[in-house]
């Protein structure tokens, strides 16, 4: 190795060291207040629960994890599936899937509408979607609560139209949670869909017609492959926060209709079962990780195809 190369290597090494030093503050903050605590929580899920919340430090117990899925009958000691937990898991997953479906059904035409506007007005439409996206989720949930309550504008309009004679109880039901989540997460579906559609070159579609493709073929062979990454991104972006939703089910579900987030909170509050709460949190995180992995795999695959 000649001296010039050596000094170049030394400079490169110094550059990388500086780069680690510069990123240190961000890495430390994220480690201390986001990643590190997850490991502590993992440890807590394997400890015995304390008498008044918390855990008994340095004890080992699988009870927390046992209680996630199974329950022991207090009278005869038989072990069965934890029905209450199973129904909450099921409610979380099914409501999240339905939220994703509703936002996709509304979001797809909306994003398409925006993407096909002239350049000048397109930004205004995007801005109109962005505003609700950045306004406080709690405020939007609260706004939804006012619309669907018994004396709210929805029931009042339906009664004024003569469609119903007494208000429908929507608030504090699963439907309320579904409406609320679809409402608050709708922008998360529209924006990535729009980003994908915005890149479509409409001349491709004209070319397709010129080559005697039918409508269906154009849709299936040209539009769908181009829009697919946006559909996947939007679905993931809606599904993941829906699954971990806490504020919306708490405000609109009224305590009885719990989702996973509320079940977790319960363990750290009145339930006083921190190991179970920790185990439930990790379960939720694992489900989200699986969804994300699915997304990353799809994104890289379609990315490769897109550039190839």
């Amino acid at each position: 190795m000649n001296p010039a190369e050596q000094s170049a290597n030394a400079a490169a090494a110094r550059d990388i060291r500086t780069r680690w030093l510069l990123s240190a503050p961000a890495l430390v903050i994220v480690f201390v207040a986001a990643i590190g605590p997850l490991f502590v929580m993992l440890a807590y899920s394997f400890m015995e629960k304390g008498d008044f919340g918390d855990v008994k430090p340095w004890t080992f117990s699988l009870e927390g994890w046992f209680n996630v899925f199974l329950s022991q009958d207090i009278f005869d000691g038989t072990i069965g599936i934890a029905d209450a937990h199973a129904s909450i898991f099921w409610r979380s997953v099914s409501l999240s899937l339905m939220t994703t479906a509703i936002t996709l059904l509304l979001g797809f035409p909306t994003a398409w509408f925006i993407a096909t506007r002239p350049r000048a007005t397109r930004d205004i439409w995007v801005f109109l979607v962005t505003i609700p996206f950045w306004t406080n989720l709690l405020i939007r949930t609260f706004a939804m609560q006012e619309v669907i309550r018994n004396e709210g504008i929805l029931n009042n309009s339906l009664m004024a139209l003569g469609l119903i004679s007494t208000p429908i109880q929507i608030l504090y039901t699963d439907t309320a949670i579904l409406l609320g989540m679809a409402y608050v997460y709708l922008p998360l579906m529209v924006l990535p869909l729009y980003a994908a559609m915005d890149r479509i070159d409409f001349r491709l579609i004209e070319a397709g017609y010129d080559l005697y493709a039918g409508r269906w073929q154009v849709l299936r062979r040209i539009i769908f492959p181009l829009v697919k990454p946006g559909v996947i991104a939007g679905s993931i972006l809606v599904f993941i926060p829906s699954l971990g939703a806490y504020v919306t089910p708490r405000v609109l579900g009224g305590g009885k209709n719990m989702m996973l987030g509320n079940l977790i909170e319960l363990q750290f509050g009145a339930g006083r079962d921190w190991p179970l709460g920790a185990a439930l949190s990790i379960t939720l995180m694992l489900i989200v990780m699986v969804a994300l992995l699915f997304y990353v795999r799809n994104a890289t695959r379609s990315g490769v195809r897109g550039h190839g």
């Binding site: 509304l106 405020i139 806490y246 405000v251």
Partner: protein
């Protein structure tokens, strides 16, 4: 000409105008804004109800303004958001400088994943994990001030601040810095006089995003706060359990107005850039 048109495609069908799509889009925009409009509308109600209109009045704005609990919560929200966004922006700027405009090096992907981690984990999970750790530390140290909230907020604000700063840096090439170095500027002078001024719109945008994200946070704050540390959102969450008066609408309206102003400014800053 006639020949040509006969050979034209069988279905001259414009995909840009799919039937029904405009209708659904209009419904979506209507549905997005109706609840917000209703909420703001009843903030100006003279009566005690959020459902029966009794005339225009500013009484609920006045009562919210003079409510000491609301005042304290609002100040606390702003203090936390300012500190957390400032910390997050500085850390994110340094991290962005360290992860852009470089050939890939060992640990680069790790840094991306690490910095964006708060976006990948559901908020409720981070919230209870922080509750576990901070409640221990509170017992050990006896300190239970706002520091925990500022630190927690700074952590989840970092990816939001990082995004626009990194985007801005990636759009800048190194020629100007190299030119500065050729003119005998020290690395610090080049950074101070060349990089930083060019980076400023990205930094401002990053700070604003982080500020809004911190201001809006409910879940992590709800679990990390000690007694008497309500922010505006957690105060509102607590109030929703009771009978709601238009005072909450008034608070929400002011909150909305602030968010809209910041987001609009953000939009204008990032747009001027392009």
């Amino acid at each position: 000409m006639a020949e040509l048109s006969r050979r034209a495609p069988p279905s001259p069908f414009d995909v840009r105008r799919l039937p029904g799509f405009a209708f659904v889009a209009m419904f979506t925009f209507f549905a997005l804004y109706l609840p917000i409009v209703v909420l703001v509308f009843y903030a100006f109600n003279a009566g005690e109800s959020v459902a029966v209109w009794e005339g225009f009045s500013l009484r609920w704005f006045k009562s919210a303004w003079s409510n000491e609990v609301v005042q304290e919560a609002a100040l606390r929200s702003f203090l936390i958001a300012t500190l957390a966004a400032a910390i997050a922006t500085v850390a994110a700027t340094l991290a962005a400088l360290a992860t852009t405009r470089t050939p890939p090096y060992r640990g680069l992907t790790f840094k991306y994943a690490f910095i964006n981690q708060p976006l990948m984990v559901p908020e409720i999970v981070t919230a209870v994990a922080l509750l576990i750790v901070f409640s221990r530390i509170k017992v050990w140290t006896g300190y239970s001030g706002l520091g925990y909230l500022v630190l927690a907020h700074a952590a989840f604000c970092i990816p939001f601040a990082y995004l626009p700063i990194r985007a801005r840096l990636e759009a800048m090439d190194l020629t100007l810095e190299k030119a500065a170095a050729d003119l005998y500027a020290t690395p610090w002078q080049a950074f101070r006089r060349v990089t930083l001024p060019l980076l400023r719109p990205g930094i401002i945008a990053g700070f604003m995003l982080a500020f809004v994200i911190s201001l809006d946070d409910v879940v992590i704050t709800e679990f990390v706060k000690s007694g008497g540390q309500d922010t505006l959102p957690t105060y509102m969450l607590g109030q929703l359990r009771r009978i709601v008066t238009p005072e909450i609408n008034a608070i929400a309206t002011v909150f909305l107005a602030i968010s809209v102003v910041i987001v609009t400014a953000f939009f204008l800053i990032t747009r001027r850039r392009e």
